[in-house]
């Protein structure tokens, strides 16, 4: 499946009756890289997991390549092309590394596991270990690798760099950029490190209290320190 477009319109969602994400609309063209930034607790994670179908959907539409998915179950959305790397990693703790990877294959042959091992050689070394035995960074790699094995056409990444060594971060961001440029996936990235986020993304959404308060080109944001100051509460990017 090649990269797909993502259209979100009037989306509201939350946990049970509590509404967290309110009236969010945006769209990402196929193969685009978009970053979502915002302070702690502003609803970034909630937005991504709503797209994946893991929270309570209150209103609005989500369309992948034009097809509405907001009524579908998470597994149907996965087959519609969405892939998700959760912030808390959520690898299967009681499964081995290899079993974790197999669980993400979406029916593809097991020979494809090599893709994952190629990206993260560390995982190959640890493939017989149980999930809970992995180091923090290894768990993060596993979570990303597992999502990539499903060949998503829209990839939702929630702070995929947390806990990774700088050298791996660079490699991984390069790999993501590559995937998008090759037209394989559209990427939506939540990232805490502004520098990284702005360097990676073409477009940026800023979230505050569940709403999108700014959106535009990432250059526009980098070149306007007062905007960053306003939304993120720090002066400038160095």
């Amino acid at each position: 499946m090649p990269a797909a477009t993502l259209h979100v319109n009037g989306l509201s969602s939350g946990y049970g009756r509590t509404v967290i994400v309110e009236d969010v609309s945006f769209s990402v063209p196929a193969g685009q890289r978009m970053a979502i930034i915002g302070r702690n607790g502003m609803g970034k994670t909630t937005l991504l997991s709503t797209l994946m179908g893991l929270t309570t959907h209150h209103a609005g539409t989500i369309a992948v390549e034009g097809a509405g998915v907001e009524k579908l179950s998470a597994s149907r959305r996965a087959y519609a092309g969405l892939g998700y790397v959760p912030q808390t990693r959520d690898i299967f703790r009681t499964l081995t590394v290899e079993e974790n990877l197999v669980s993400g294959l979406k029916g593809r042959a097991k020979t494809n596991l090599d893709e994952a091992y190629h990206l993260f050689p560390r995982l190959r070394e640890r493939r017989r270990n149980l999930g809970w035995q992995l180091s923090g960074g290894e768990q993060q790699m596993l979570s990303t690798a597992r999502a990539l094995l499903g060949k998503p056409s829209v990839l939702l990444l929630d702070e995929p760099l947390e806990g990774l060594a700088p050298v791996i971060c660079q490699e991984l961001m390069a790999a993501f950029t590559e995937l998008a440029k090759a037209g394989t996936t559209t990427i939506l990235l939540v990232e805490q490190n502004l520098k990284t986020a702005l360097a990676f993304a073409e477009e940026v959404l800023v979230m505050e209290r569940g709403r999108i308060v700014w959106s535009g080109q990432s250059e526009a944001l980098s070149s306007e320190p007062h905007l960053i100051d306003k939304f993120m509460g720090v002066a400038g990017v160095h």
Binding site: R39, N40, G136, L194
Partner: protein, 248 residues
């Protein structure tokens, strides 16, 4: 006694994997040391060994001159050896302030009290609120932890460690998941630590490491491959290739 924590020739393996390979290090009073290294290098394991969650296969650990190699983890905590967790470990159904009150009461040896709730102990409440305020978590004081965002949980994890009044503090990636915008809270909290405290900090955020540490130790495949000041770090080729990458 200037050396608070002294580790000699520590070794440990999981099955065939050497996770800790003859590591020696010491932390003196007031030291600010960063422990960095590639993923899976054995940093968290080292903290687990120091804190007493795992037993080393050989080597010794002493705390303030006392050999603690075989000592129970809880006793080490009582001696003032406190750690935080890389992957947060909190009580999902308790409130934010409950966590701090519990830590304070435990520190003071009052956690066995069976009658008076901490809500009726103004000194405990004040200290807890103050600790929260330092990390700007005070608006969340009465929220249940399961309902606060992940980044906020990370801050709480730090707050608990601080309130236990450590003498030696082991922080495992305290700043992961905290946005650049909020990093100042963490940095401020770390800056405000009592000067005589010895801190060992693991983090992959090199900005934080450079701002915080006076000494850096790099671990790779369980062994120490570098020890020096943050300034020397970028010029070491091994560290560059194993950890930092080229544009660091």
């Amino acid at each position: 006694m200037d050396t608070l924590l002294d580790i000699r020739n520590l070794k440990m393996n999981f099955g065939g994997l050497k996770v800790t390979d003859d590591v020696s290090l010491n932390l003196a009073k007031g030291s600010r040391t960063a422990l960095i290294g590639p993923n899976g290098a054995g940093k968290t394991t080292l903290i687990n060994l120091i804190a007493g969650a795992y037993r080393p296969t050989s080597g010794s650990i002493s705390l303030m001159g006392q050999d603690v190699t075989g000592m129970k983890d809880t006793d080490r905590v009582r001696l003032g050896l406190i750690r935080s967790f890389q992957i947060t470990r909190l009580f999902p159904d308790l409130t934010v302030i409950d966590h701090l009150a519990m830590a304070i009461l435990q520190r003071e040896g009052r956690s066995a009290g069976m009658f008076k709730s901490y809500h009726r102990m103004p000194e405990v409440l004040d200290e807890a609120m103050e600790a929260l305020a330092r990390l700007r978590l005070d608006p969340l004081a009465n929220r249940v932890v399961a309902q606060i965002a992940y980044g906020q949980q990370r801050l709480l994890e730090i707050a608990i460690a601080l309130v236990l009044k450590p003498k030696v503090l082991l922080l495992d990636e305290p700043a992961a998941g905290i946005p650049s915008s909020d990093m100042d809270r963490v940095v401020a909290a770390l800056d405000n630590l009592p000067a005589e405290l010895a801190v060992l900090l693991i983090d992959h955020d090199m900005d934080l490491v450079r701002r915080f540490a006076r000494e850096v130790i790099v671990l790779s495949s369980g062994a120490v491959i570098f020890r020096g000041t943050p300034e020397q770090l970028g010029s070491d080729p091994r560290v560059r290739s194993a950890y930092l990458g080229e544009d660091a």
